[in-house]
């Protein structure tokens, strides 16, 4: 397969990819449909920012945020139904059940584990040990700046953790499981080995203090930007949106069957972090997944990092097979 040169790299020698915004298909349909699927993303972002900025204290609560989050995801699933990016990514009952299983684990098991050994717990222990208070440098800043900082600090840590996962074998093992998904849907971000999901959630934002409303604003930034990484909707996102934020186009390239293309677009919400460090490629892919799109069962997803890790350890440190002399 002939690849496409992007900077110093040749992309798409092992799997089909599309590079460059001009080569990506546009939303098909009448002017209303095209308008909706061009402006939906910025509208949702600014509407939620406005809501959380002005919501009275009696409404600005975590429970409201959870409700909005669920409602927004259901709306996005409706958009996937109406205007899918690729027919081959259409959600099936089995994919929905699998995705929801992982979403459920995220809300239950991972939350329990995070409560004991998550980064917030570790940071609290460090702070208590050294008698540090949270760094209150940012609490006097305007709310939207605080919200941006919360999401940026988290995304920056996630970028390097994610990049590390693609460059260091012990971290790659748990992350590789997430690269066996063969289609993108709105809940696919939750699919992966629990060890990886724990690692990718680590951050150092806990060292800093922010006002509570800033967390709600930051949450809405995550909800209305980061969520589009794994979505099967064709949007004609505005140019500035694609320049600043991660999109399903960027992330589908990251999940493609081409090895070199997977080593790009590592950020969660802010693709400009990838632009800063030279790992951004603008493009998309439809054929996804490692081993030419072999779909892994949940059981294998749970055990794969450990079985593969064990095989690697044995191959490296195990006793070499004794040669049997030929008679």
């Amino acid at each position: 397969m002939e690849g496409i040169r992007v900077g110093n790299r040749i992309i798409g020698t092992q799997g089909p990819v599309t590079v460059g915004w001009e080569n990506i298909p546009k939303v098909q349909g009448g002017p209303v449909k095209r308008f909706v699927f061009t402006w939906f993303q910025p509208f949702a972002l600014f509407a939620l920012l406005l809501f959380w900025y002005y919501a009275p204290n009696s409404i600005a609560k975590t429970s409201t945020a959870i409700g909005i989050g669920i409602g927004f995801k259901v709306l996005l699933m409706g958009l996937e139904w109406v205007n899918p990016r690729h027919e081959s990514w259409r959600l099936t009952w089995k994919e929905l059940a699998t995705d929801l299983f992982y979403v459920g684990l995220g809300y239950t098991l991972l939350r329990i584990v995070d409560g004991y050994i998550g980064s917030d717990v570790a940071i609290k222990a460090i702070q208590e040990h050294w008698h540090w208070d949270k760094f209150a440098w940012f609490t006097g800043l305007p709310l939207l700046v605080q919200a941006f900082l919360i999401s940026f600090i988290f995304d920056f840590a996630q970028y390097w953790m994610h990049r590390g996962m693609h460059n260091w074998y012990p971290l790659w093992l748990p992350h590789s499981v997430h690269h066996y998904i063969t289609q993108l849907n709105v809940n696919k971000g939750a699919v992966g080995n629990p060890v990886e999901l724990f690692l990718i959630g680590l951050g150092f934002g806990g060292f800093f203090d922010f006002v509570p409303r800033a967390f709600l604003l930051a949450g809405s930034i995550g909800l209305t930007i980061g969520i589009y990484q794994h979505i099967n909707v064709r949007f004609d996102s505005p140019k500035w949106w694609r320049f600043l934020f991660n999109t399903t186009e960027h992330h589908s390239l990251h999940h493609s069957q081409d090895y070199e293309a997977t080593r790009s677009n590592y950020s969660g919400a802010y693709i400009f972090i990838d632009r800063m460090f030279g790992t951004c490629i603008d493009g998309e892919a439809e054929m996804l997944g490692l081993e030419n799109g072999r779909r892994m069962s949940i059981r294998e997803q749970m055990t794969y990092p450990f079985t593969e890790g064990w095989k690697s350890i044995k191959a490296r440190y195990g006793r070499a097979p004794t040669a049997v002399p030929a008679e």
């Binding site: 081959s88 099936t92 009952w93 994919e95 239950t108």
Partner: protein
């Protein structure tokens, strides 16, 4: 143990009349492309087609099934395709509520070992934390509501350090119960439609 009474949970059975004048060979020829997907192996005899699937792709129209038998037999009305399909996904979805109920119970049990909130321990520190940071002048100008002093018994204001509750686990147990019922009906209907359309060549 006789599984006959419970195997409907993950076994899907059904029958479809062949088109008038359609032979066994013609019927299986029409159905065979469904079993040419990656990860699928199948064997065919004169009246039986047996298949098995492993790591089936999401895009496979029969991905929910892991194996099964399709047999053509004669009925009073003529030749009929009888199918018996097995789905581990349906079984796991049926069992998933039990897992989430167990996780809910685990959350409750672990909560019993938790120390009570260290309010008394860090009285002075809490008092320091309760000081409300004034809004930035930009936010004041734009009209954002000023933050309130957090109430001592404010359960919602606990934010990231909130005590874990089993509610999410029970909600997911309910979601999977509904998902199972929906899936058992939907997948039965979809596979029947798929076979019918394949047989008729529609």
């Amino acid at each position: 143990m006789n599984l006959r009474f419970i195997e409907w949970i993950w076994h899907v059975r059904g029958s479809l009349a062949l088109a008038p004048g359609q032979s066994n060979e013609q019927a299986f020829d029409r159905l065979e492309p469904l079993f040419g997907q990656s990860g699928t192996s199948h064997q065919r005899t004169h009246d039986t087609l047996t298949f098995e699937k492993r790591d089936q792709a999401a895009q496979d129209k029969m991905s929910v099934f892991d194996g099964g038998v399709l047999r053509i037999a004669s009925d009073a009305t003529g030749p009929v395709l009888r199918y018996h399909l097995i789905s581990r996904a349906l079984l796991f979805c049926f069992l998933a509520p039990l897992l989430f109920i167990a996780l809910g119970q685990l959350t409750i049990e672990l909560g019993k070992f938790e120390k009570p909130p260290a309010e008394a321990k860090a009285g002075s520190k809490d008092a320091k934390k309760d000081v409300v940071v004034p809004l930035n002048p930009v936010d004041k100008f734009l009209g954002a509501p000023a933050p309130e002093k957090p109430k001592k018994d404010d359960k919602d204001g606990g934010g990231r350090h909130k005590k874990a509750t089993p509610t999410a686990a029970y909600v997911f147990a309910g979601i999977f119960a509904v998902l199972y019922v929906g899936g058992r009906i939907l997948e039965d209907w979809l596979v029947r439609r798929l076979f019918r359309r394949s047989l008729l060549g529609a």
